[in-house]
């Protein structure tokens, strides 16, 4: 059918790209201590991009029949005719050079019953373990597996495809008697079954235990440790938008004109690493078929480059960096594939602090001003640090600053690395110490 679409497009005198997506998703969730929904879905669709005299037009559908695809090409061409010429948009003609493995038979073969049983197991075991400590939490979460198949073809002769599996186990909630912080443990894996249900429930119950009887704080002092999840949220919503080559070119970024400038502490190197299967969000090629790669965005504090798709790379006189994202029914946008900050030492950040705070979870990062990099977030889970040790759980203070201020105030990056996924970007880093 793909050949027919491309042949039809050529016959109509347009360049054409076909993006095909198939997602199989099995999910068993629990909510408020009871099983909630068992889902098993198949989502398939096709997106077309055409270039009619350099004018782009897009159309997509899940109705994949020859008759409807004919109609879809006509729709895309009709829209292209309404559009303006854009000579920067080109379809990929270089073959994909990555050969990373993102697919596991073991995950694919996990049966629906196993997903359901693991979900029940995760809930029940966590409740049992909590009960032994006289903690009565209200829990939500679940177990889910994804199988993704992505294919791209175009009239320049490009064709490539990949398959990817993801297994995700998640539990979150809090205790009311006695009260605790809101706790969360998430485990993502693409090539193995990841952490066991017991490991996840143990980790969760440990967090619950140390988060008991939290006190509300109104202010923070100038020595903070940000967890991978908290820093990841802040960076994704500020730096992640500002490093977008389109936003930089259009002056919608606090990083415009900052390439080659020291924008962070020398301790900070930040990497977008789309072709490493150490990250759940890795993929061999992006939404336009460009090979993903290791992009060093900040090197020892110096901003090195922006991220691009084909169009905005060409506008800057550069190649795409492999950062075009899309679904079959969503248009292309430029975004980070991953966020990674290498550790600077092997030491323990906490033992160097006589009085400070460990910020574990925040809320409101998505309200950050991506143009200026300013943010104001509420800490919903953290701990005070006294004499080099984690002390009482806290919540409530407002943390206001800016992305550049945080990046410049990073003193050290060390401790156990953690992987979290924010929207579709995987963040993998160790806790960071900041000192204002």
């Amino acid at each position: 059918m793909i050949e027919k679409i491309l042949a039809k497009a050529s016959k109509l005198g347009v360049e054409c790209e076909v993006y095909c997506s198939k997602i199989l998703h099995t999910y068993s969730s629990f909510e408020n201590n009871k099983l909630a929904v068992f889902e098993d879905v198949l989502d398939t669709g096709i997106a077309l991009r055409v270039l009619y005299n350099k004018k782009p037009g897009y159309a997509s559908t899940c109705n994949i029949t020859p008759k409807n695809l004919d109609r879809l090409i006509k729709h895309a061409i009709k829209l292209a005719k309404l559009n303006e010429e854009n000579s920067f948009i080109k379809f990929q003609d270089k073959p994909v050079r990555n050969t990373i493995t993102l697919y596991s038979d073991r995950i694919t073969e996990l049966s629906s019953s196993k997903i359901l049983d693991d979900s029940i197991g995760l809930l029940n075991r966590t409740l049992e373990k909590s009960e032994k400590l006289n903690i009565k939490p209200v829990l939500s979460g679940g177990v889910e597996k994804f199988l993704l198949e992505i294919q791209i073809y175009n009239t320049s002769g490009f064709e490539s495809k990949y398959k990817k599996t993801i297994l995700r186990k998640m539990i979150y909630g809090k205790s009311h008697t006695p009260p605790s912080l809101e706790c969360q443990v998430e485990d993502y894996s693409i090539l193995s079954e990841g952490k066991s249900i017991d490991e996840i429930s143990d980790e969760f119950v440990y967090k619950l235990k140390i988060g008991l009887k939290p006190t509300r704080k109104k202010t923070l002092n100038n020595k903070l440790i940000l967890s991978p999840s908290a820093l990841g949220e802040l960076l994704y919503h500020t730096f992640g938008q500002a490093i977008n080559g389109e936003n930089m070119a259009r002056g919608r970024s606090f990083l415009s004109d900052k390439i080659g400038v020291q924008i962070a502490s020398e301790k900070v190197s930040l990497i977008d690493w789309g072709n490493s299967n150490n990250f759940v969000s890795a993929r061999p090629f992006d939404g336009e078929g460009t090979s993903t790669r290791k992009n060093i965005l900040i090197d020892h504090g110096v901003l090195k480059q922006a991220i691009y798709d084909i169009e905005w790379g060409a506008r800057a006189g550069l190649e795409s960096t492999g950062n075009a994202h899309r679904g079959y029914h969503t248009p292309l946008n430029i975004n980070l594939n991953t966020i990674s900050i290498p550790s600077t030492t092997t030491g323990n950040l906490i033992e160097d602090i006589s009085k400070g705070y460990y910020i574990e979870t925040i809320t409101g990062a998505h309200t950050s001003n991506s143009v200026t990099g300013d943010f104001g977030v509420v800490v919903i889970g953290g701990y005070s640090i006294i004499d080099g040790e984690i002390s009482k759980p806290i919540y409530g203070p407002l943390f206001s600053s800016s992305c550049l201020n945080v990046l410049n105030s990073i003193v050290d990056v060390a401790g156990p690395e953690e992987q979290v996924t924010i929207n579709q970007t995987t963040v993998k880093l160790s806790p960071v110490m900041i000192e204002f």
């Binding site: 509420v378 919540y395 407002l398």
Partner: protein, 463 residues
């Protein structure tokens, strides 16, 4: 589109379930994005699919397929999904909401179904031309802009094993204008959104969503933000405009009043029903029939949308429930089970949540304030289940000795929800609602708003 929902419910494989429902949708959408450099995206999407939700032994089963027809549907019943027998038995009862057989059609003069694509595209293109002209003339500080326009038409079919059969046919249109200004190294942004279940004629000069007024409001705001100073920090009197009030009501209070979050141990407890939780000047409504926001004549459980009073003169009267939580809390469902499309099972959501207006003029709201701030137009924020919130405004204005003074930029407010609801000491006579999107695992259209309000003490800071 052929209605396949009854065909599904008649399949023998579903007879063993305690309850079954089927939703089918066909949506056509045109999306257009234009920047200062011209049209960036012109996107046509059609989405056709069907979902089945089944109840057995206390567990909901959910399955959807895209592009359904009778042949493919017969095939899915052979899938092992329908053979799973959960070793989990917990009685789950649904609130009896009766049987509804109805067809709701929103009649408009112009929709995607009867309008040429050129004419649809002209709506955002005319905004583009005006902004380009302004950028070259009186608004040279305008650095860049994004115009997003969506026009869609949706057909929805619902059937359940109790006999309900509902058809809903309606357009949906939305225009978003985001501006970025730059002057003397200072950056500013402003955002305006209009939309809902009206026809394309609403974008005409005399229409409800006339883009010209959006453009001038947005340009003026950018101009003022660029001249603005840093906000004061500390605990001071705050006056909120209807947009900020709506955010407080939706984000800080509304979510806490969703029954699934109450059951999860939010700060609202069932024991607080019929008790005072807010100042007596506070009445909070969740309304399903505002066509400029979250319009829900029937929800995705086939329950008729009914206006519900959550707080009546300071007293908590009810939660928002679906059929499951309605039974659990013994409260009548009023149409709050919503799903963003057939791809998702319905969950408890708001529709149009607002604070009822009072009788203070704006001058009366600010006249007694020695030093405070007026915050205008929500730009972002979130509230936690712990009852704390933090919201950013696009712009603020200093209030000194009862008068509005200079603008301030990057201002945010934060506080505790119930302390704030108790402290509101004056409610304005004005009333406005905004359309927005709300995320809770799935994005849906909602509305929120109310009058301007005054809070004598609230934490103000920068963002």
């Amino acid at each position: 589109m052929e209605d396949l929902t009854s065909f599904i419910l008649n399949q023998p494989a579903l007879k063993n379930y305690e309850f079954a429902e089927c939703r089918q949708e066909y949506t056509q959408t045109i999306s257009i994005r234009i920047t200062e450099e011209g049209v960036k995206e012109l996107f046509f999407n059609e989405d056709r699919g069907l979902s089945i939700r089944l109840l057995k032994n206390g567990l909901w089963f959910f399955k959807f397929i895209t592009n359904p027809d009778k042949k493919s549907l017969k095939k899915i019943f052979k899938n092992n999904f329908f053979q799973i027998k959960p070793a989990y038995f917990k009685k789950l009862e649904l609130y009896d909401t009766g049987v509804h057989v109805d067809k709701v059609t929103v009649k408009v003069a112009k929709s995607l179904l009867n309008t040429d694509l050129d004419e649809v595209a002209e709506i955002p293109l005319s905004v583009y031309k005006k902004l380009l002209d302004l950028k070259k003339s009186e608004a040279t500080f305008l650095k860049s802009f994004n115009i997003f326009f969506n026009s869609s038409y949706k057909e929805e079919f619902y059937s359940n094993s109790e006999g309900s059969r509902i058809i809903q046919l309606h357009p949906f249109n939305r225009l978003v204008i985001n501006l970025t200004g730059l002057d003397n190294g200072k950056r500013a942004r402003s955002s305006e959104t209009v939309g809902g279940v009206r026809g394309l004629e609403a974008f005409k000069t005399e229409g409800k969503w006339n883009p010209d007024s959006l453009i001038s409001r947005s340009i003026n705001r950018i101009k003022n933000i660029l001249t603005g100073s840093a906000p004061p920090k500390g605990v001071i009197p705050v006056v909120m405009d209807p947009s900020m009030t709506g955010t407080l009501i939706h984000e800080a209070f509304g979510h806490l009043c969703e029954a699934d979050l109450v059951a999860a141990g939010g700060v609202i407890k069932t024991q607080q029903l019929n008790k005072r939780i807010a100042n007596e000047n506070i009445t909070i409504i969740d309304d399903p029939l505002n066509i400029d926001g979250g319009w829900v004549p029937y929800d995705q459980e086939g329950v008729k949308g009914v206006r519900s009073t959550l707080v009546d003169r300071g007293v908590l009267r009810r939660f928002m429930v679906n059929r499951e939580y309605g039974k659990l809390f013994n409260q009548t469902p009023t149409g709050n089970a919503r799903a963003s499309s057939y791809r998702y099972p319905p969950i408890i959501r708001m529709r149009n949540t607002y604070l009822k207006n009072g009788d203070f003029s704006f001058e009366e709201l600010i006249e007694d304030i020695e030093k405070g701030i007026f915050v205008e137009k929500f730009i972002g924020g979130q509230a936690s289940l712990l009852g704390a919130f933090q919201f950013a405004a696009q712009i603020g204005w200093l209030i000194e000795k009862g008068e509005l003074k200079q603008p301030v930029r990057d201002v945010s407010i934060s506080g505790l929800t119930f302390e704030t609801l108790m402290n509101i000491d004056a409610v304005g006579e004005n009333f406005e609602t905004d359309i927005g999107t709300c995320g809770k695992g799935q994005w849906i259209t909602v509305g929120d708003g109310g009058p301007s309000i005054r809070v004598p003490k609230l934490t103000v800071g920068g963002i």
